[in-house]
Symmetry: C2
Subunit: 331 residues, 2 copies
Amino acid sequence: MKSQEIHLASRPQGTPTADNFSLIERELAPLQDGQVLIQNLWMSVDPYMRGRMIDRASYVPPFQLNHVLEGGAIGEIIESRNDQWPVGTKVSHMQGWRSHAICDGQGLTAIPATSLPLQSFLGIMGMPGMTAWTGLFRIAELKPGDTVFVSAASGAVGSIACQLAKLQGCTVIGSVGSDEKAESLKALDIDAVINYKTAGDLTQALAQAAPQGVDVYFENVGGEHLEAALNNMNEFGRITVCGMISQYNATEPQPGPSNIGMLIVKKLKMQGFIVFDHWQHYGDFAAQMGQWISEGKIKWDETIYEGLAQAPEAFIGLFEGKNKGKMLVKL
Amino acid sequence: MKSQEIHLASRPQGTPTADNFSLIERELAPLQDGQVLIQNLWMSVDPYMRGRMIDRASYVPPFQLNHVLEGGAIGEIIESRNDQWPVGTKVSHMQGWRSHAICDGQGLTAIPATSLPLQSFLGIMGMPGMTAWTGLFRIAELKPGDTVFVSAASGAVGSIACQLAKLQGCTVIGSVGSDEKAESLKALDIDAVINYKTAGDLTQALAQAAPQGVDVYFENVGGEHLEAALNNMNEFGRITVCGMISQYNATEPQPGPSNIGMLIVKKLKMQGFIVFDHWQHYGDFAAQMGQWISEGKIKWDETIYEGLAQAPEAFIGLFEGKNKGKMLVKL
């Protein structure tokens, strides 16, 4: 059995380019006892993967040069030497960026039988949905009536965060990078949308959109967005720090917010998180989210690239704002 | 009755100078029913007062030009037309920067009868002590065994924070701005002291002092100190943001920490606070602190300037590191 894999050919300097990736075909070893062979059907590309392409000491080891990349994927077991994981089982796992994966059963999650599309378990029902839920409820302690500002608001996480906050009776302002994205966000009944590329001074734009001030900022972008949020936060506001995509491709250190002293003046809490630390609450999340979806209370977009060879383009597209909602690769 | 008062003569540009202050003598009006006349005995100068010298919208109104300044003080009631506040009562209040104050009884706190020196209620038993306690226990959720980094560690708040953390069984590293201050901090059995003026790269100096990493950073300074702390924090660390004295005299916006993304990578919580929001817990604080003091478990320094006319110099001295422990003016 041959597997196709995307390897990290070189470490990106700045924004990743196609040259940083290579498509390799490799003969897989026969299965050993306890192992299963998975044919991947969908894979996820996510901004956080950029961090693992840098060679630095971190709590997650960096990707290795000339080795296959990793990331969320959904596949079907097509061969099994493990009784717990029979052939035909659909599973989510972390061995993406390849057509086939061999696994010993560790780190597999069976996809439950639902009417939801399979790939939703890489999006609304998976890591991005769980990230929005965790950031709002477990980190920011969202309360009904809060004014919530979400950056990258039409992204996989941001668009869900906007809708979850609306479901709680919050006023929601989102920022996006195109008028087209602004339109689709407005269609979700978000209270106000800022196109940060055309809005001019972001602090003023946010002040106009939220004259009552911001209680919760869901941070996906960093840089000017964080400065604008700090300038507009209300006393005792909470900033849930999910990502800072504007910083990921920087080739030298970027100055932080010049108004970080607002943390004191306004008595703010700013907290970073990584969703995998909260995974023990996935059941609570999935039950709530499944309910909201079944009631038609939440919608989501997908941007789909076809074929493993397109995975690098899909990934690079994340930093060019090419996705509406979840960026996916269909294998 | 005449009162001497320090007025704000002009708004400081950068570090305050003597020219920004003027000493005025003013005739006080006779007391009305319900009022008391206080002769001030001690007054406090604190870094936070610098913020109120700027003319900007904030949650606390700025000091007005050619009006008397305000701040913590302790005095004795020498005339009273209020039965609740008899002559001879020692009180703490917020009408400092003047020799005599007229008050209607609001905002007065009677100094309890103890063997402690009166001025300790502007220091260890007052706002700075309560600030250290609040920042460690209510904001940073200090746990025994934590490694704690305190900046401005020989200051009024920092030196108490260091000792409170030691009392909890923590490992404590302090940063100070002179070898003399380092020596006095070491005399308090603090585990390691960094003289930031001679230590070179602060990230490396902190890494050497805390090879196990930092769980709690008590932030009094900002700038490079915050960057160094972020670089050395452990996962799930907490940064309690009490002050950023390095920023207060800046004449233009200072770049924030270039490594603010560490909040995500390390899942950090960073929270600003102002002690007055927590004043309902003063009784708990005072009981615990009084106990520790009576057991000889905590020590404090004072730096005393004599006479109201010296108050501006005492205040300016805060930004030049002239105080060990609490900076006070004896009237």
